[in-house]
């Protein structure tokens, strides 16, 4: 308890927490934008357990989904400025599409 009163200790713990938080944040979520009826990246590599945030920067709605064995999901329709997140908890190749715009495709490689 006395060590907790040491300012240096407190500062070090705080920095460590921040770093861990940032690392955790940086390690757990990727951001992919939808702009001009296309994904911002065509191929993305994530680790198992990490999440991908799909951000709609178009002026109309998108509906991102995937029917891959590694991860099947349907984010539903979300409008301009809205976002949906998906956590990939299984290794494999996930083909991501848009139900509204059939030409929008990308691939997410989930690695261990």
């Amino acid at each position: 308890m006395d060590s907790l009163r040491n300012p240096k200790v407190v500062a070090s713990l705080g920095a460590l927490c921040a770093l861990l938080g940032f690392a955790a944040y940086a390690a757990t979520e990727h951001v992919v934008t939808q702009k001009a009826k296309a994904f911002s990246v065509k191929r993305l590599v994530v680790k198992v357990g990490e999440a991908v945030k799909f951000l709609n920067e178009d002026s109309f709605a998108h509906n991102v989904f995937s029917l891959s064995d590694a991860k099947s999901f349907d984010l539903g329709s979300y409008g301009p400025g809205a976002s949906r997140s998906v956590t990939f908890d299984k290794a494999g190749t996930v083909e991501v599409e848009c139900a509204v715009h059939p030409d929008m495709r990308m691939v997410i490689e989930v690695v261990k």
């Binding site: 509906n63 989904f65 029917l67 099947s72 349907d74 539903g76 329709s77 599409e97 509204v100």
Partner: protein, 524 residues
């Protein structure tokens, strides 16, 4: 040539002002006040009409917009509810289709189509939520849509895997929620239809009320308009005068325009006339100069003729004098001829005497000869004593012969003298006759010379008179030349005035055109 009249404006024509000042202060104030009142009245009328029209239009527009928006929103809600129902059925159908199909690509296509239909359904429900944020049915619909989403994906996964039983079971598990969504859509649709009916009734009441208000407003507006109309009619009574005035001004302006054009044409003609007049003046002056030169030549010729007449008269006088002298000489010669005739007559008489003497001498000579012969005979008879007497007789005979010869010569000479005297007498007579004739002719010549002298005298008088008349004519021509010079000066002055007239005509035409333009703008 005379100079132009200094370019001075003989005509004091004022420049036409495009904006003539009004005459008299009270009159201008009255017209200005009237114009102000008219303007105010017109503005009030316009403002009232615009206000009524704007208010009516705004109200109607608001009503129509509200009605249209309400109708549109109601219809959108109904359409969204209907779309939701359709899409519910579509999703269900596609899910079943994905289960029914066996081809992987076809299953995938059906699955993607079902996801797309579900996406549109979510959009329709989201639209309904926006349009009916307070509707619990719509809220419930949204929740059910989210609720069935994972089950839908499971159906797709099972269908892709070929696990039809699981897929059908999952479909069965979501059939109730889908039915609920459908029912809720129907409810929302019915509610919206009812709402639309109620809205239509409310709108009809609202429109009726608005129409009543507009009617009241129109009546009030009509009353105000009638009041304004009455005032306007009173004001317009004065516009009749103004219209008449404008008409008169228009007529005057047109007349001015026409007069300006006529003035311009007249000015044109005057310029032409002046040009022709100037040409004629130039010709006249040239002619006057030529006439003056010819006059001088004529005067010189008249002087020469006069001198010649004088000389002729003098010569005639001299000739008459010479003729008189000749006549005198002829008379003298005639007298001398007469004396010569008398002399020849006397000579003839003397010749007769000489003839007598020659006859006497001849007789004497014959007697002598006879005597000599007798002497000779006697001498012969006397013999030797008579030889000396014979010689004397011989000498007397020779002398008688000589005398006879001399008498013959004298007779011959006398005859010649007689012939010559006769010839001379004849010649003298002829000459006398000629001289008489010549004298007569000279007398005639003298008369002719005198007549000629008289004629020349008369000619000189006539020439003098002609010269006087000619000089008078020349003075008149000079006076005409002076008049022509004055005419030229007047012409120059006229040209300046023509120029001024042209400017005045142009000013009149411009002023009339401006007036007509303003009148046209006012009367339109």
């Amino acid at each position: 040539m005379g100079t132009a009249g200094g370019g001075a404006r003989a005509l004091n024509v004022p420049v036409v002002d495009a904006q003539p000042k009004l005459a008299g202060r009270p009159r201008s104030m009255g017209v200005s006040r009237w114009k102000r009142d008219m303007r105010l009245f017109a503005l009030l009328m316009i403002a009232m009409v615009v206000a009524v029209a704007a208010t009516s239009s705004a109200l109607m527009w608001r009503l129509l917009r509200e009605q249209a928006v309400a109708a549109s929103e109601g219809q959108s809600r109904i359409d969204a509810a209907a779309t939701t129902r359709q899409l519910i059925l579509e999703v269900d159908r596609l899910l079943l289709k994905s289960v029914a199909l066996s081809e992987p690509d076809a299953v995938r296509a059906a699955a993607v189509a079902s996801i797309a239909a579900a996406s549109r359904m979510e959009d329709a429900v989201s639209a309904l939520k926006l349009m009916l944020p307070d509707s619990k049915d719509v809220e419930r619909m949204a929740q059910l849509v989210e609720q069935v989403k994972p089950s839908r994906m499971r159906v797709i996964v099972h269908a892709r895997k070929g696990d039809d039983e699981q897929a059908i079971a999952t479909i069965a598990s979501i059939s109730e929620p889908l039915r609920s969504i459908d029912q809720l859509s129907v409810t929302v649709q019915q509610v919206q239809v009812e709402q639309r009916r109620l809205d239509a009734e409310a709108w009809e009441r609202h429109v009726r009320r608005q129409i009543q208000l507009l009617l009241v407003g129109s009546i009030v507006g009509l009353a105000v308009a009638w009041h304004f109309y009455r005032r306007l009619m009173r004001q317009l009574a004065r516009t009749g005068e103004l219209e008449a005035l404008l008409l008169d001004v228009s007529v005057a302006a047109r007349r001015m325009d026409g007069d300006g054009a006529m003035l311009d044409d007249l000015n044109h003609d005057m310029r032409d006339c002046q040009a022709r007049l100037a040409g004629i003046i130039n010709d006249l002056q040239s002619a006057f100069q030529a006439m003056d030169a010819e006059r001088r030549q004529a005067v010189d010729a008249l002087g020469t003729i006069e001198n010649a007449c004088k000389q002729s008269m003098q010569t005639s006088m001299e000739q008459a004098g010479h003729a008189c002298a000749v006549v005198e000489q002829i008379r003298g010669a005639a007298q001398q001829m007469h004396a010569l005739r008398e002399t020849s007559t006397h000579l003839s008489r003397n010749r007769e005497q000489i003839v007598g003497f020659t006859e006497t001498i001849t007789r004497i000579s014959s007697m002598t000869r006879l005597l000599s012969m007798n002497a000779a005979v006697e001498a012969a008879r006397a013999g030797e004593a008579g030889k000396g007497f014979a010689v004397v007789a011989q000498s007397i005979r020779e002398l008688s012969d000589q005398t006879q010869a001399a008498v013959l010569e004298i007779s011959r000479a006398s005859e010649e003298i007689t012939l010559q005297v006769a010839a001379t007498e004849k010649t003298v007579v002829h000459t006398q006759g000629l001289m008489v004739d010549c004298s007569q002719r000279m007398a005639i010549l003298e008369n002719s010379a005198q007549q000629n002298h008289q004629l020349v005298d008369a000619l000189a008088l006539e020439l003098a008179r002609f010269s006087a008349i000619f000089n008078t004519q020349a003075k008149r021509v000079q006076a005409m030349d002076v008049d022509v010079a004055r005419l030229d000066e007047s012409l120059q002055s006229g040209q300046a005035q023509v120029q001024l007239l042209s400017e005045t005509a142009a000013s009149l035409t411009g002023a009339s055109s401006r007036m007509l333009a303003r009148l046209a703008a006012v009367t339109q």
